[in-house]
Symmetry: C2
Subunit: 380 residues, 2 copies
């Protein structure tokens, strides 16, 4: 194998592939990144066997030559070390040559590295994604769906299924739900189905995969193609493939958790309210409970407070835009509230309470595709 | 105690004082920061008993009112928590009131924190610095002296005296030396002595203190006043006092370590050479030895290389500006070389060798106040 390649493109592709490479792995070759050079260009693959990321560098793009293939072939190189090496190379072009015994020569200007590579034949095959169902989704919308739900997955392995985000697709309507059983985040969106076979899907994508996917999706507005099979999902962007294993098992039915009526509705300026909660959370966190209190007062005022016998107390009054219905006095986890408010990202939010002991929901008038639910903490 | 204060100034002073506050301490009150409000302004003090930092906020500066003292007094507040609290406050002005039992009310806009404070009477007294010798030094020069030496102190407590930088002052001439016994950094400078009593000083300032001092020195060009006593040094900048304990014990005589003759002199472009060493160091680090080789070749070329049986090899040829004297083939620690080159910070450097087994020195023609010495590693 021998090729010349534009350094910046190689760095970008290696960084993308590197996001799938685990620091520790039980399959030794997976500490490596695989390079395949053929007559189309160079493909860079990283995997931890749950996630596989493949970044492609075409021979030419927009009339600019990116790769010159002298001899096709494949090699696996130690991922982290190689990614450091190429970042430090002196010239704009890198020459990569594989000799006997997988000995790989990386040359740029006067600098020459001889790196002991590994046999690409030993590298696991990609998942086979052929007969899955295809959907298409704008890049921005996919990012929103992920950001507005993934933070709510469980970080505990007690119920592994809750470490993923549940995607239900029916007639191209996607409902994404994540819950750690203390809070729930839901987002709805419309996909473009390429094959309207009317089939519905219920899959659970690991939260970790979605977080990594966020990092490799670029700023472009090209739609992302998705293919769903039994145990894999593939996201396909320009020059990028992102495979993730799906979680096995049945996701709990969350629809009944969401209250449909409410006894108190408080509408708030989102920024003012978030800042007040954030200030109260400082003390709540320091006091280890992480609990803050929300109390409706006279004149549409809301009192946000937190108390810790060792540290002290914080109280702040926030004027609501409107407060309707019964008085309420409720406690909740400060961090979960902050996460929910950041996910909604509107200028005004409404909180719908049905009682001190009941879950409550947060929505915004501007965007009914998103819903956040919190369970109260019992302190009263 | 009660005062109103500009939030930004309070944040800055607390951040400075916080740099002296240890995360863990055997003296419980030192997790706090002390505030003293008197008719001149507010003094903010943090200490870990080795380092004490005191930042002063005057009532007025450049015609702008910074503090309004309603009632003088003192209080100690938990340092890290308080510094988080004030950063999040909503308004530009903060009101701080101490009530009974050291209960402290921090108010800004609608937000109110009640923080349980500690008795300022329990806080240790500042070191007494009265009869020391005084010197003055430009801010920039003080920073250079620190940056060009402190990285070479020992990080091991085997010989505690080597964890400090040795300052020798004679007739206002300062020589600063740091060594961890594998390398040595030396910087010379001229101080302004305010009291020319002809006394010479030989003190050892903890490396940690100098690193913290670097962080609190601002960009201004006002000279720094220094006062040296038996066991303390005080740096005095505008509105800032920085006290450090001195290390006890006798610093080794390092003057005999520095070779005075040389058999090979190699002059190099500093940037080109640093980049080549940096590239070789990648492999040296990955191979765990951290050793790279330096070999003079024909035509004034220098070969920089590193080899690891598990990882591979790196070779790079750098053209020297000139190579005089005997051929040389020498190995050294890559990180130490990089540290030394970064400290010198010139466009051209010269390396003076006296043999494969002998220490060698690095200097620049542009600035003879700085010298870096490295011991070779025996690999040949």
């Amino acid at each position: 194998m021998k090729f010349y390649i534009k350094k910046e493109r190689l760095i970008k592709s290696v960084q993308d592939a590197l996001k799938a490479v685990a620091v520790r792995t039980t399959i030794p070759i997976l500490v490596g990144i695989k390079f395949d050079a053929d007559d189309r260009g160079v493909t860079v693959t990283g995997s931890d066997s749950d996630i596989t990321i493949q970044s492609f560098i075409p021979k030419e793009e927009d009339g600019e030559e990116l790769v010159e293939i002298v001899e096709p072939g494949s090699i696996v190189l130690q991922a982290r070390f190689f990614s450091e090496v190429i970042k430090k190379l002196p010239e704009l072009i890198v020459e990569i040559t594989v000799e006997d015994q997988f000995k790989t020569i990386v040359r740029s200007g006067n600098a020459e590295y001889i790196i002991l590579g590994l046999d690409a034949e030993e590298y696991p095959r990609l998942p086979i994604i052929e007969d899955g169902d295809h959907f298409s989704i704008p890049n921005d919308l996919l990012k929103s769906i992920i950001k507005q739900t993934v933070f709510a997955v469980s970080t505990s392995e007690t119920r592994p299924i809750l470490t993923g985000v549940h995607w239900m697709i029916e007639d191209s309507q996607l409902t994404a739900v994540a819950t750690d059983s203390h809070r729930l985040a839901m987002k709805q969106a419309t996909l473009q189905s390429e094959e309207r076979n009317g089939k519905s899907h219920s899959i659970v994508i690991p939260g970790k995969s979605l977080n990594e996917l966020l990092k490799v999706l670029d700023e472009s507005n090209e739609p992302i193609q998705m293919t769903i099979t039994n145990n894999q999902i593939l996201f396909r962007a320009k020059n990028l493939l992102f495979f993730s294993r799906l979680l096995e098992g049945k996701y709990p039915d969350t629809s009944k958790l969401i209250p449909t009526d409410s006894k108190t509705i408080v509408k708030l300026n989102a920024k003012e309210y978030l800042e007040a909660v954030d200030r109260a959370s400082l003390l709540a966190r320091e006091g280890k409970t992480n609990v803050i209190k929300f109390t409706t007062m006279d004149d549409d005022m809301i009192e946000i407070s937190s108390y810790s016998p060792e540290i002290g107390k914080v109280v702040e009054n926030v004027k609501s835009i409107s407060t309707e219905g019964e008085e309420i006095k409720i406690s909740f986890n400060a961090k979960y509230m902050i996460d929910a408010l950041r996910a909604i990202d509107g200028t005004e939010i409404s909180i719908y309470f049905t009682g001190t002991m009941r879950p409550f929901i947060i929505r915004t008038d501007y965007d009914d595709s998103i819903l956040q639910l919190l369970l109260p903490v019992r302190t009263f």
